[in-house]
Structures are given as structure tokens and as C-alpha cells.
């Protein structure tokens, strides 16, 4: 399953870091951050609960870039 989220982040490098962090989160199969469109597309593992996973994704992103936001 794929879902798209609006995000907020200031710099392109930080967006790259968010992408890395999201990819490493459990339950996430793949993630693509589009800095220009301020969107994050997350592909979840089969049968995963995307709501709880997105909380982890946000927490992991906050770790690498304090100043980011994902509108879940």
C-alpha cells in the first residue's frame, strides 16, 4: 500500500535525510521524499498498520531533522 503525505522541511539535504530515516523505519518498504513538492510517499509492508508506522516514521525523521513535520 502506498500513501502520500504533506511534509514540511527547510532544506533539500534535510529532505534526503528524512527519506533515509523513513526508509529505515520498520514496516516501511520504501519511501520517497519530494522536497520540491513537499510530499512524502510511503510504501508500507503488506498488512502493516500505516497509522502507527507513520508515528514511528515521524519520530525517526525528527531525530535526523528536528525542524521537520509530516502531516499524518
Amino acid at each position: 500500500m502506498k500513501k502520500k503525505y504533506d511534509i514540511e522541511v527547510d532544506c533539500a539535504n534535510c529532505a534526503n535525510k528524512m527519506e533515509e530515516a523513513a526508509k529505515k523505519t520498520n514496516g516501511v518498504k520504501n519511501a520517497i521524499v519530494n522536497f520540491m513538492a513537499l510530499k512524502m510517499e510511503v510504501e508500507f509492508e503488506e498488512g502493516a498498520d500505516h497509522k502507527s508506522i507513520m508515528k514511528d516514521v515521524l519520530a525517526n525523521c525528527k531525530k535526523v531533522e528536528d525542524d521537520c513535520e509530516i502531516y499524518i
Binding site: K4, D10, C11, A12, N13, C14, N16, K17, I32, N34, F35, M36, A37, L38, K39, E41, K63, V64, E65, D66, D67
Partner: protein, 643 residues
């Protein structure tokens, strides 16, 4: 400007004012001479004075750097800036230096960040304005009143009302009203499109003149506007090689420079110490700090995706939708353009292109009139094109006794005269003498009136306006080959190709043969060249996906084509292919310029910094200056009108 940017601007102004005030006060107060016994009171006062603007502008950075360390994210730009400026302050404190540099580094860094944020925000807005086709609501008539509803909630088959000035929210058919539509946001075409009852309309167009009632044929999510928006939003997610290179580069570059800085701060002085010289720690630490300032990869990391984003935005303004920056990159090195003939270079509709009366008393108009009258009940494409050429309402009372002679043509009484219209077999059947082998490339309709051969009409597919120009533009662009593939007969293919100036033609191909041909071309070309296939999206999905770049044209409203193609031309002008290539090349040129410029300046400054020629000010230019220049250069990719 948003809240964050305003706050940053306020801090920058405060810092500049304070810094200026301190500088001014130094003219009147000799701080250095304020010494209380052995305690340098003046220097301590100066230190605290300089710390005010420093913290005003750098507090956020220091806070983020601390957080970064806590989260084990050491090598980020905040950390670099914090270490560089705190280091500079420490050096100044110990060696009685000037604090100005540390404050200035932080100040310029913040100015650069602010500039970048505004520039990115601006281009983001520019591009989303270009693609401003997202409808906010749909009007539905309930009990004689118009009600605005969410387009998502409108079911297929509902009737929506679109007033002048409003966007058509959902694809559908006009059931009432006449109007002109502005399709510029979708096609880049500025001439309005006239629509009336029974015309299909697509979402995203703006209604200009009259009220339209439209019966929807699709859901909002499946409508053209939504599909196009989806495509554009996803475009930047397919990253190009250049973008991947940059993010890889940034990943290694920053740590490498940081460790080099550390080495620069420690190794030379230690070696100097061992060899019995003056270690001069202050100088080497200062050089190491300039390294850190230069090391920030922002210029690259921001300007490359921004260039692609602007390029994609510029292209969509011109009615060219590109599904990803990787395709933009491929497009720039297009070596071969392979065309499908029908619907791409030709209009794909039959038209009367020549009328030749055999009887001197018969005018061209009369000949067409007789043929159209005889064929009035047929829906064959040939008959339709005859009726279209006649262009008048057919007076059915003038026609009697219509019989279709299968495989031959039609016999009918028109104004009491026996008219035969059909192929050569029909003429022979009635024993009429007609010129054979006309060497014409099209379908020939022979017409006989009262058992006398009256003339013939040639009906064929016509070459699109601009098709010839499109081919010569491509050759001018330095594309090494243009190829035409068609299922049509060799004779027709050769004629069209000759007319357009295409040298390589393959005719009488089945759809599967087209894939084979494209594969042959893929093998033939050299590895740096890309093969683009241009089709109209009908029956050529396999070829579109097999070629390096699949271009579908006039594909608006055709879901299959939008799915299969990598690039979608919103209108069916073949000249847009050359334009797309030029946009791609401009964008790639900017990408290379920025890459080489940014990496080049940084490496030069790193070398100069290591040997002590470049000071902190040069380092600031290498970081912020380069970034500002690269961002401005990147935005150029948005301007594609004159290409």
C-alpha cells in the same frame, strides 16, 4: 514570506544593526586599552558585546547542532556552522583576534539560508500556479438552486453547472449551453476551444463565455485534471542520475571535509612541533575552521533538484508533461526519434485531398456533391470524409434508389441521374473506361453519372501542419536520425516520408513488428544516445514502454497513453518534441553548470584555505555566495518560452 522566514529576517536585521553599532563604538572607545591591573576588562566587554549579535543570529543553529549531537547526527550543516563559528570565537579569544569573522560567518550563513528558502518557495509557487488546474468545487443544481459540492462527491452521470470564469472540475459531455474554453493550463495553447452540446470536455479547462451544463462521464479522481496533477506531483519523485549522484556525493563529501579539517588542525602543527618549529596552533585551527565553512554541500543539494523541478515546471507550462527528472535527463541526449505515422505525423483522419473531374462540364463541387449524395447513408470513413467535404446538409429528397454493391461501391439516383460511386471494380462492372494506376497514395473514389465516367476523388490521411517543420527542427537540434514506422502501405509511407524529409521508413508493420524495429534501433545506436518513440497512444503502448523515452501526443483524455508514456504532449503538435528536447538540454546544461561551478569553487577554496591564502570571508563566499548563484541559475530552467 512565511512565519519562519520573517523571524529569520528579523534576527538578521537585529544582528546587522548590533554589529554596526559595536563597530561604530569601537571608533570612540579604545576597548583594547581598558585594562584593570592584569585583567583585560576591555576584551571581556568586547567579547560579550559581540556575543549579542552572534547569538541573535546563531541561537537556532546552536540549538539544532546540540540536538543533532544528541541524536547522533553529527555531520549536518548546523553542526558544521556551530563548530566553525565557536572555533573562530575561541581562536579570537585566545589569540586576541577579531570576533567579527565569527559573527559574519553566522550572519551570512543565515542570509543564505533565508534567500534559499525564499527562492525555493517562490519557484514552488510559480510552478504550482502554472499547474493551477485543481478545481475546488463543482456546482450541482438542486431544487433550482446552485450548490457547491466537493468534486470528489459527484457521481458519474450527474449534471454539473460550470459558469463563466470557473474551471471544469470533472470530465464529461456538454448537455446544454455553448461556450469557449481556455485550455492553456493543460495544453499551453492560447486559442480558445469552442464547445457546444454533445461535445466532450475535459476537466482543468476554464470556461470563458457561456454557462455550460455538463453530464460527468468520470469520477473526479479519474478525470484529466486529477490525472495530470498526479503526474506532475509524482514527477520529481523519479530521480535522475544527476540527483542521485549529488545525494551520494553529499553523503560522503561532508564527512570527508570534516575529517580533513580535523587533520589540518592537528597534523601540521604536530609535525612542526616534532621538527622543532613553532607549532602555531591558532593559525592551523583557523584554516581548519575555514574548511568547515566551505564544506557545507547546500549549493549542490539544493540547486540540482531545483533545476530539474524548474525544468519540469517550464515544460508543463508549454504543454509537455514529463513524468520524472530521469526522463528529462534522457531526453537531453535523444539520438533517434522514431515516429508512428498515423495520428502522429498525419492527422489520422481521412480527408478529400484531390478532386479530378474527367468531364469538362463537371465542376469539382458537383463531383463531390454527387459522391456525397450517393454515399449519404453510409458510415464508412470514406463516406464520412466525402460528406465532410460537401459541407452542406444533404437534401434527402434528391436521392432515391440507393443500393450498395458490396465490395464495389454504391449506385443511387441523384436528381434523377444514375450515379455510381466506388472503386475501380465498380467502374469495370458497368463497363466504364477509367484511367488505371493513378499512382496516387490514397483511396480513390471513382464517380460515374448517367453511365459516363465523371471523375475521381482522392481521399487520404493528411500530413499534420507543422510535421515537416518538426522533423527539420529535430535535425537542426542534432538528432542523428528520424525514423517512421507505419502499418500503412509502402507507397503511402514513402510519400509521407518524402514530404516530411524522413530518410528511414519501415512500412506494412504489425504492432509487434514496431517493437522489433525499435529494438533494432536500440541495438544500432551508440550507448550515449537515447531512442524516443512518438505515438498517439492508440495500440502502441508496448512500443512506448520499450523505447528509452515514450512520448504520447494529443493524449489528453486517453488514460492508456498517459499510463504508458514517459512524456505526454498535451496537444498534438509534433513541433513540441523538438521543444521538449531543447527544454531538457537547457535544464541539463544548468545542472552541469551548477555541479561543476559549485564543486569547482569549493575545491579551489579548500586548497586555498589549506595553504592559508583563503580566509574566512572567502569561505563564506564559497558557501553562501555559490549557493545563491547556483539557485538563481537553477531558476533559469523555468523560462522556456523562447526555446
Amino acid at each position: 514570506m512565511n512565519k519562519k522566514q520573517k523571524k529569520a529576517l528579523r534576527n538578521i536585521i537585529i544582528a546587522i544593526v548590533l554589529l554596526a553599532a559595536i563597530k561604530l563604538s569601537e571608533r570612540f572607545i579604545a576597548y583594547e586599552e581598558l585594562i584593570n591591573g592584569s585583567f583585560p576588562t576591555g576584551r571581556v566587554i568586547l567579547f560579550f558585546l559581540y556575543m549579542i549579535p552572534y547569538l541573535a543570529v546563531g541561537y537556532e543553529i546552536l540549538r539544532k547542532a546540540l540536538k543533532g549531537i544528541k541524536n547522533r547526527q553529527v555531520f549536518d550543516e548546523n553542526f558544521l556552522m556551530a563548530v566553525a563559528t565557536l572555533g573562530a570565537i575561541a581562536v579570537a579569544l585566545i589569540y586576541n583576534g577579531d570576533y567579527t569573522e565569527a559573527v559574519a560567518v553566522m550572519l551570512f550563513y543565515q542570509i543564505g539560508e533565508l534567500f534559499q528558502s525564499i527562492a525555493v518557495g517562490k519557484s514552488r509557487k510559480n510552478i504550482s500556479d502554472l499547474m493551477d488546474i485543481r478545481p475546488d468545487y463543482a456546482n450541482i443544481e438542486r431544487d433550482g438552486k446552485l450548490e457547491q459540492v466537493d468534486p470528489d462527491e459527484v457521481e458519474i452521470g450527474s449534471v454539473i453547472v460550470v459558469r463563466p470564469g470557473e474551471k471544469i472540475p470533472i470530465d464529461g459531455v456538454v448537455v446544454e449551453g455553448v461556450s469557449s474554453l481556455n485550455t492553456a493550463a493543460l495544453t499551453g495553447e492560447s486559442v480558445p476551444l469552442d464547445v457546444s452540446e454533445t461535445d466532450n470536455v475535459i476537466s482543468g479547462c476554464v470556461n470563458i463565455s457561456g454557462v455550460l451544463k455538463i453530464q460527468t462521464t468520470k469520477e473526479f479522481g479519474e478525470s484529466t485534471a486529477s490525472k495530470v496533477l498526479d503526474l506532475v506531483e509524482n514527477a520529481a519523485s523519479r530521480k535522475s542520475k544527476s540527483e542521485n549522484f549529488i545525494s551520494k556525493f553529499a553523503k560522503y563529501y561532508t564527512p570527508v571535509v570534516c575529517y580533513s579539517a580535523l587533520a589540518l588542525a592537528i597534523l601540521p602543527p604536530v609535525i612542526l612541533l616534532i621538527t622543532g618549529n613553532d607549532a602555531n596552533f591558532g593559525q592551523w585551527i583557523y584554516r581548519a575552521l575555514t574548511f568547515l565553512v566551505i564544506s557545507c554541500p547546500c549549493a549542490l543539494v539544493i540547486s540540482i533538484p531545483l533545476s530539474f523541478f524548474a525544468g519540469l515546471g517550464g515544460a508543463s507550462e508549454a504543454g509537455i508533461l514529463i513524468k520524472g527528472s530521469n526522463y528529462l535527463e534522457a531526453l537531453a541526449s535523444t539520438g533517434y526519434v522514431v515516429f508512428d505515422k498515423t495520428g502522429t505525423l498525419t492527422k489520422g483522419v481521412f480527408e478529400v485531398c484531390e478532386t479530378v473531374p474527367a468531364d469538362p462540364e463537371m465542376t469539382k463541387e458537383q463531383l463531390v456533391e454527387y459522391a456525397a449524395m450517393a454515399e449519404m447513408d453510409s458510415n464508412h470513413p470514406i463516406s464520412l470524409s466525402l460528406k465532410k467535404a460537401y459541407a452542406k446538409e444533404i437534401d434527402r429528397d434528391r436521392v432515391n434508389d440507393v443500393t450498395e454493391i458490396s465490395g464495389h461501391g454504391i449506385s443511387a439516383l441523384v436528381d434523377g441521374k444514375r450515379v455510381l460511386a466506388g472503386n475501380i471494380k465498380l467502374m469495370r462492372k458497368f463497363g466504364l473506361n477509367v484511367p488505371e494506376d493513378l499512382k496516387e497514395t490514397g483511396t480513390v473514389v471513382y464517380v460515374a453519372v448517367d453511365d459516363r465516367f465523371a471523375g475521381y476523388i482522392i481521399i487520404s490521411d493528411v500530413v499534420k501542419e507543422g510535421a515537416k517543420e518538426a522533423i527539420s527542427l529535430l535535425h537542426n537540434d542534432g538528432v542523428s536520425g528520424t525514423v517512421m514506422l507505419t502499418g500503412d502501405s509502402d507507397r503511402v509511407a514513402k510519400k509521407v516520408a518524402g514530404l516530411l524529409g524522413i530518410k528511414e521508413v519501415y512500412s506494412e508493420l504489425l504492432p509487434a513488428d514496431k517493437v522489433t524495429k525499435v529494438e533494432e534501433i536500440l541495438k544500432k545506436k551508440n550507448s550515449a544516445q537515447k531512442v524516443a518513440f512518438v505515438g498517439d497512444g492508440i495500440n502502441d503502448a508496448p512500443v512506448l514502454s520499450r523505447a528509452d523515452i515514450g512520448i504520447a501526443m494529443g493524449a489528453l483524455g486517453s488514460d492508456a497513453a498517459i499510463e504508458a508514456a514517459d512524456i505526454v504532449l498535451m496537444d498534438d503538435d509534433p513541433r513540441k518534441i523538438s521543444k521538449a528536447i531543447r527544454i531538457a538540454r537547457k535544464c541539463m546544461r544548468i545542472v552541469y553548470e551548477n555541479t561543476i561551478f559549485a564543486i569547482g569553487v569549493k575545491i579551489i577554496c579548500l586548497i586555498l584555505g589549506a595553504v592559508g591564502i583563503a580566509n574566512m570571508w572567502v569561505a563564506i563566499f564559497a558557501d553562501v555566495g555559490v549557493m545563491v548563484i547556483a539557485v538563481i541559475n537553477a531558476i533559469r530552467a523555468l523560462f522556456v518560452k523562447k526555446l
